[in-house]
């Protein structure tokens, strides 16, 4: 930490309780999310497009369009209620307490200013220090995210940098005011695999180095495994399974998680064999069916799944899944895995 912080309150970095986000009064994008991000923890929120993962992430910084959306539930950052914050408090929260990195740095960075100037502006905005001092801090940030020849790169415009370099610059900008919580929205999706792995490792290093609490949104299970301690799987606005990365990937208990793992091309039995798919498509969020939102596509669904919400079942220490048939689902997954390793 560069500057002393007035007392760090105990408790989790972020606590989300019963979050519901509705757009235009009709589209329920997030439908009752409970999630706790412990201090120094890294959680990956995974799901397909429209599962509500980015909306959940944005809600933490109140970035969803306020006039078009209705937000219910509670969001606490370091114990303080984000929903109750006024303009001032919110400005202080954004950047200083919680920072965010986006998928496309070219859209997130301002094209007409050099990257260095944008970082310096952010630091001075929050801390009221001199330009020279701010520049030194910006340079330090560039070194921290391992940008080669950082002095020169500070004076580069975003378009003069390569994709990987821009993403590093955006991470530097996000970390400029030493936030405690880092939110990352698909930060490596637009990158080549060879660059993606570098950024994933950088995020992992920074997290340990700075003691950051990280919430990482991705649709890629592999990327989630590389950076996260815990994984929360979202479907149609709900967290359907949450546990440690090991628990979720090696011992999944929700049929949707199992479907995601099975549909990966590397999990196929043999070349030329068919991939196992999840039939159908996600539900219309404006007309949610009653009961479990995954029931219409689930290989284990029965009448009670379509009638009411499934219970949240403990599948192990710190591992939960929202499903009536977690045991059967887990057994089916393990049986197939055994078959695969025999073959």
């Amino acid at each position: 930490m560069n500057e002393p912080r007035t007392k760090t309150p105990a408790g989790p970095a972020v606590a989300i309780q019963g979050l519901k986000v509705t757009f235009g009064g009709r589209v329920r994008a997030v439908d009752g999310v409970d999630l706790t991000l412990g201090r120094g923890q890294a959680i990956a929120l995974i799901g397909e497009s429209g599962s509500g993962k980015s909306v959940t992430l944005r809600a933490i910084m109140r970035l969803n369009p306020e006039r078009k959306s209705t937000i219910e539930g509670r969001i606490l950052v370091s114990g303080r209620d984000v929903m109750a914050m006024g303009r001032r408090e919110l400005t202080a929260l954004r950047g200083r307490e919680v920072a965010m990195i986006f998928q496309e740095p070219l859209l997130a960075l301002d094209p007409v200013y050099t990257v260095g100037r944008q970082i310096i502006e952010a630091i001075r905005q929050h801390e009221g220090i001199g330009a020279a001092e701010a520049r030194a801090r910006a340079l330090q940030q560039f070194e921290r995210v391992r940008i080669p020849s950082p002095e020169r790169r500070l004076d580069a415009y975003p378009h003069e940098m390569s994709g990987g370099m821009r993403q590093r610059a955006m991470i530097a900008l996000a970390l400029a005011c030493n936030p405690k919580v880092l939110l990352a929205d698909e930060p490596t999706t637009a990158l080549d695999a060879t660059v993606q792995i570098q950024i994933l490792l950088l995020l992992r290093d920074l997290q340990t180095e700075l003691g950051l609490s990280t919430l990482f949104v991705t649709h890629d299970l592999g990327a989630a495994v590389e950076v996260a301690d815990r994984i929360a799987v979202m479907y149609a606005g709900r967290i359907v399974e949450e546990g440690s990365a090991r628990q979720v990937v090696l011992n999944p208990h929700h049929p949707y998680t199992i479907g995601l793992l099975r549909s990966r091309a590397d999990g196929a039995l043999a070349k030329g064999s068919r991939l196992q798919t999840i039939p159908g498509s996600p539900p219309d969020l404006a007309n949610r069916p009653p009961g479990c939102p995954f029931a219409p596509r689930c290989f284990l669904a029965e009448d009670r799944c379509r009638a009411g919400d499934p219970p949240v079942v403990d599948a192990g220490p710190g591992h939960r899944a929202a499903c009536w048939k977690t045991d059967e689902a887990a057994r089916s997954f393990q049986a197939q895995r055994a078959e695969l390793s025999d073959a």
């Binding site: 994709g163 080549d192 649709h219 990966r264 091309a265 991939l275």
Partner: protein, 353 residues
């Protein structure tokens, strides 16, 4: 009820027989002129810089590599969407654009599916209209073209009664990509070029579309050129793989060999860049540092030398040829070529023995 889609059996169009590759690409070159800076000096992007490969009838050839390696440019050159500077392209033994195979005739036999399913459909045309458009241009009567469009829609899993009259914005990404596939098949092509066709789809949808592609290939006797950056998908769907780096093929061979026991250090780096799926065994060191280099000024010698772990002096001065390591597997790396002067190269006797 519906006309059979594959009305003309492919065998009648087959000229060279099964041994003749469907597509042969030799010494393909495309350089794009660019200006560096405002009023700056001229430079060329060596997008495709001497590419050779062939695609056998009925196989799926995968092309992998980082962005800027020339994989999409190669596809566009093959389709004639961009003019090539140099090189030869033969389709079933005939030069594309020659009198024996005019471009128009070739295009009826080779079709392409793009990554962005939305921008590749006309937003003001119903999907049925889009699918029927190609056949109409090639002289199929309207009624027959529409009928074929509907039977193709049914074949790719979109019920014609519900979907035929819809516009692209009324469909999901996966459904739109199915429409693009149906459109590509409307002219009964023999070669389909799939340029990152499943990359923008969610994983569960991607699996559905991959299954569909495999079924269609069987049913319509297709040959695929499958461009992707996802090595898992390529390993699953492709028979052979070509790895491209800075406008050149650096390794080509059977998918099972190239992606399991790669001969080129670049292929190895690509493979180990894939995120681990094992929480107990996460990646600790990134296999390659930095970003893919700029194809404007490729380094002398082996183009991979600045990022290579096996680099030696010889690599900076000698261009490695794409030479066989076994009859069906070729690699462009001095460390794998007997007598190249690289210290790791196998000795000539060891190879002869």
């Amino acid at each position: 009820m519906s006309t059979p889609i594959a009305s003309s059996p492919t065998s009648s169009r087959d000229r060279g027989g099964p041994g003749q590759p469907l597509l042969t690409v030799e010494g393909l070159v495309k350089h794009f002129p660019v200006k560096k800076g405002i009023g700056g000096k001229k430079a060329v992007v060596r997008a495709v810089d001497g590419v050779d490969f062939d695609i056998k009838k009925g196989e799926t050839l995968g092309v992998v590599g980082e962005s800027g390696c020339g994989k999409s440019s190669t596809a566009r050159l093959i389709m004639g969407l961009t003019q090539h500077d140099k090189g030869e392209m033969l389709f079933d033994g005939e030069r594309i654009g020659s009198r024996a195979l005019p471009l128009r005739e070739f295009r009826a036999q080779a079709q392409m599916v793009f990554q962005d399913s939305y921008s590749s459909l006309n937003p003001r045309m119903t999907i049925e209209g889009s699918i029927a458009f190609g056949p109409r241009v090639h002289g199929v009567p309207r009624r027959q073209a529409i009928e074929r469009a509907r039977s193709l829609l049914a074949r790719v899993g979109l019920e014609p009664a519900r979907f035929a009259a819809r516009y692209p914005h009324e469909l999901s990404g996966g459904q739109r990509q199915r429409v693009n596939i149906a459109r590509a098949l409307a002219l009964e092509p023999r070669l389909v070029v799939l340029d990152e066709a499943v990359s923008a789809l969610d994983k569960s949808v991607e699996a559905q579309v991959l299954n569909l592609l495999m079924d269609l290939k069987q049913e319509f006797d297709l040959t695929y050129l499958f461009i992707s950056h996802d090595l898992n998908v390529v390993r699953f769907i492709c028979d052979r793989v070509a790895v491209m780096y800075l406008g050149q093929v650096v390794e080509i061979g059977p998918a099972d060999t190239v992606l399991a026991d790669p001969a080129h250090p670049y292929t190895r780096a690509l493979l180990s860049s894939m995120p681990s799926m094992d929480p107990d065994n996460r990646t600790t060191v990134a296999p390659l540092a930095g970003d893919p280099p700029n194809p404007i000024d490729p380094p002398p010698g082996c183009r991979f030398n600045p990022r290579c772990s096996l680099v030696e002096d010889i690599c900076r001065s000698h261009v490695p040829p794409l030479a066989p390591v076994d009859p069906i597997h070729r690699v462009a790396c001095l460390a794998r070529q007997p007598g190249s002067g690289h210290s790791a190269a196998p000795s000539a006797e060891a190879v002869a023995a």
